[in-house]
Symmetry: C2
Subunit: 400 residues, 2 copies
């Protein structure tokens, strides 16, 4: 059986007209002799609107009930898409997360998929039906409706493809993955094939490509992902396991301006306090790898870490949350930075890229504040400056 | 256990503010030491909007998928109401039709409730929770989401109350049942107590009181209904079984302008044709009791029946649907009529009301076109005329 999972994101189905177009795309794939499972998000910004509605009732709405509320977004889409397919003469059936037995565990609004019943899906496929499943949602062991949190619909699609052992096509409003975000650098090259690890690095370092969670699951389940636009029809990007031959290659550049360097200074510090702060940061989900600590010995401590704008709320509460009493604690936020990251397989084996980058930053008068390296990327945190010039210089040097 | 089912209709929960008010009402009932099951409709005209959306995809949307779509309306309300109750410090839990195991059978978009699992509800009640259930929807034996059609939420509430053997309060935007619609006759008297049969007669004869289906079920399950406004807080109307003492009493007056007299004439008729037309009308759900047939013997036939504006589509298709070929068939629609019905228990035992009505109609120059009688009502179809004057005359005569 020629099986495929197709996932359509909110922007691909934001209007009735777009839903009809998606139906046509599915029909054409069906005519290519595929059995198709379609996973859909909520239309456009439906989920945000529902969250806003719930906030009118409570600043912290009950999470179980928030899941009951949010799950209607995808349920609306599956029904409309099924109707649209039937209108084109295809047989289709919609299934909510609960109906497809997508069993989740963990917290409400942030559940993880534990298992799903592939037999339900296979039975409908064997009847010749296109099976349309709500992304982003499932049902827990108590029978409660649950949602999966950010990137949930992509995760649903990958999980279903993994269970059915078939590829996954994810349709969005961009043509695929580029070496650099085309909005930042119009000459950026589209990537044909890329490994899970490289996509993870790009996503982690600020490129808006795919939610990390879905990519991690795809890597784990060995699900090939084809990422493409539902609108242009251009050829997209295939994400799969790494090439078997060893190669060192710069894949792309990620730019993150949505970050700040947070510095915690204490003139009266001790080991317990440092441990307490580190524990707290880890507990709060701050990426501990970006932390640098200096001058601990003489009673003065300075601890710096990168933080995204989304985490400002957490940062603001650090002072209150620190358990060890500390009179002389000072927390500062440096927002005048951008993080520029070069991503590549085996990048640490390429010897000359540091000197090239340093030359570019210095010739653009950008002070370097922080450097981080791994096997797949190098990140420079520098002053904000002529971003486009710097990106263009780097792209030219590395042929991106 | 002091059990009660409260049902809130679309107009009572059309905004976040109204949902918060409903939550307060529920809290106050809870403080009166009640275990409460709340059944809700979709907010405002949500269902109509969703139907409109589906029509943008297909003039005749797939009914299974329409149910998947329509059911999100009530699901939205249960989540928001549960949040609102939690915000007031009450413990609450929302259940969809499927989660409450409201098992249905029959067609999609028009299913009937076969059974429901009262133990699920009772368990949550025993935990001290307010249980909030979607009206209008259930799940069939295949696990498909189903909806109940017109008046579905009232029917859900009555079915749940019946199963739990408790009373049912239905909150709407009117204060209860009046002897005459107050918009037609401002001096109308509100009714304190009324029997199921009288409400059924009022509803059947054009008074917008409660959907017949919910009342019929309440009668069958012996569920007392308290019908009241969620806004004014005025005392409403209780609907229950008939008084045990025999009494003859005029209860109210119903006026139906939303109707026409349809006449089918044929100059070339035979018994087969008449049977065929009668069968067709019955099959289409036209109330056969209102049909009068004349002049069958000499080859000429005239058949008249009342029909509501909602059924015009059916009427228009009669000609096409008639199987026996008929060259000389003529169908006319008389829309210049109104039906005025007097409803009362044992009305047929009251001797003088016909002469009073006749006098009123004639003194108002209204030609009488049709009369129908039963044990609970008498209906006069008359020319449209000075409606307010006629209603006022009748109300005065019968002290309504």
């Amino acid at each position: 059986m020629n099986l495929i999972v197709q996932k359509y994101g909110g922007s691909s189905i934001s209007t009735i007209e777009k839903i009809k177009n998606v139906a046509k795309k599915i029909k054409s794939k069906k005519e290519d002799n595929y059995h198709i499972i379609v996973v859909v998000s909520a239309m456009g910004n439906t989920t945000d609107k529902l969250i806003k509605l719930s906030k009118q009732i409570s600043p912290l709405p009950d999470k179980r009930e928030l899941d009951v509320l949010l799950s209607i977004g995808e349920q609306k889409t599956i029904a409309l898409l099924a109707m649209a397919l039937k209108e084109l003469g295809l047989d289709a059936i919609s299934l909510t997360g609960a109906q497809a037995r997508i069993i989740t565990e963990g917290e409400h609004t942030n559940s993880i998929i534990k298992d799903l019943d592939k037999n339900i899906i296979l039975e409908y496929l064997q009847e010749g039906k296109v099976v349309i499943i709500t992304g982003f949602q499932g049902v827990n062991s108590k029978g409660d409706i649950t949602t999966l949190g950010r990137g949930g619909s992509d995760t649903s699609a990958v999980a279903i493809a993994g269970k059915l052992n078939c590829p996954c096509e994810i349709y969005t409003d961009v043509d695929g993955i580029y070496s650099i975000d085309p909005r930042l650098y119009p000459n950026a090259r589209q990537i044909d094939y890329i490994s899970y690890d490289m996509v993870l690095a790009l996503s982690t370092l600020g490129a808006k490509v795919l939610e990390k969670r879905a990519v991690q699951l795809a890597k784990q389940l060995e699900v090939p992902i084809y990422l493409a636009s539902s609108i242009t029809g251009n050829i997209g990007t295939t994400i799969r396991g790494a090439e078997t031959v060893e190669e060192s290659k710069i894949v792309g550049l990620a730019v993150d301006e949505n970050c700040a360097i947070i510095t915690i200074e204490s003139t009266n510090s001790n080991k317990e306090e440092i441990m307490s702060i580190l524990n707290l940061l880890t507990h709060l989900g701050i990426d501990i790898n970006t932390i640098s600590i200096s001058n601990v010995s003489n009673g003065y401590m300075s601890m710096s870490f990168m933080c995204s704008r989304d985490d400002y709320g957490i940062v603001d509460s650090i002072e209150k949350l620190i358990c060890v009493p500390s009179k002389d604690l000072k927390i500062t936020k440096d927002e005048n930075s951008m993080k520029i990251s070069l991503i590549g397989s085996g990048i640490n084996k390429i010897t000359d890229y540091h000197s090239i980058l340093l030359k570019i930053f210095y010739s653009n008068n950008l002070m370097i504040k922080h450097i981080a390296n791994s096997e797949t990327y190098t990140s420079y945190v520098v002053d904000k400056g002529d971003k486009n010039k710097v990106i263009s210089d780097i792209a030219t040097e590395f042929n991106l």
